[in-house]
């Protein structure tokens, strides 16, 4: 029992420190988090509850029912700038965020 405690406690402490570190990393801007993840061994995904931690870290402040932050962004064909608020009173807008990678 004493040997178990002797090893279990340090292991637990290290685990919690690493877990907290990963969560703090998830709270960083995406490119910073990406750079950190690129240096971590793959085993890190399996060692920690990655998905629930990610969903919590990336919850975001915006809530359903709140005004959607407006934006004016260029279309890929360069033809025009799309302003989100220009659809107000017209029709709902689906926003699919992503990138090719």
């Amino acid at each position: 029992m004493r040997t178990f405690i002797k090893y279990a406690i340090p292991v637990l402490v290290v685990y919690i420190v690493l877990l907290s570190g990963l969560f703090v990393a998830m709270l960083q801007p995406p490119e910073v988090f990406g750079r950190i993840m690129s240096k971590l061994p793959t085993v890190a995904y399996f060692l920690f509850p990655f998905e629930p931690m990610w969903l919590a870290a990336r919850r975001g402040r915006l809530k359903v029912g709140e005004p959607a932050p407006d934006f004016s962004l260029k279309r890929t064909d360069g033809s025009q700038v799309v302003r989100l608020s220009s659809f107000r009173g017209q029709k709902p807008v689906v926003l699919i965020f992503g990138s090719h990678t």
Partner: protein
């Protein structure tokens, strides 16, 4: 579609799937580079919906906590009617479609 900063760029968190699918893109340093990546994505994936490109301050990504991918619906009053959980785990097109159906029944389209 709102094209935001790359999820798995060659100079960042590159994945085996990037090699498998031959999607090797460095993180954009200029708007022109991001715009080029977006254009190529639209062509290669055959995307027919309007695609816009986030600015280099990532203003829209930050405002919506959108990286690496996420779904939203904004209703006619300009309010958030649907917000998926953070992608990739929370990227749920079925849930989004169901919410859209309640806002705009397909029978009325």
């Amino acid at each position: 579609m709102v094209y935001i900063e790359e999820a798995h760029p060659t100079d960042g968190w590159e994945m085996p799937s990037n090699f498998k699918e031959g999607v090797l893109i460095a993180s954009a340093k200029t708007f022109l580079q991001r715009d080029e990546a977006a254009k190529s994505c639209v062509v290669k994936l055959g995307i027919h919906i309007p695609a816009v490109v986030d600015d280099m301050q990532d203003s829209t990504e930050r405002a919506y906590t959108a990286w690496p991918d996420r779904l939203y619906i904004v209703d006619r009053e300009g309010r958030v009617a649907f917000k998926s959980k953070a992608g990739p785990f929370g990227f749920d097109p079925k849930a989004m479609a169901a919410r859209l159906e309640s806002l705009v029944p397909s029978s009325t389209r």
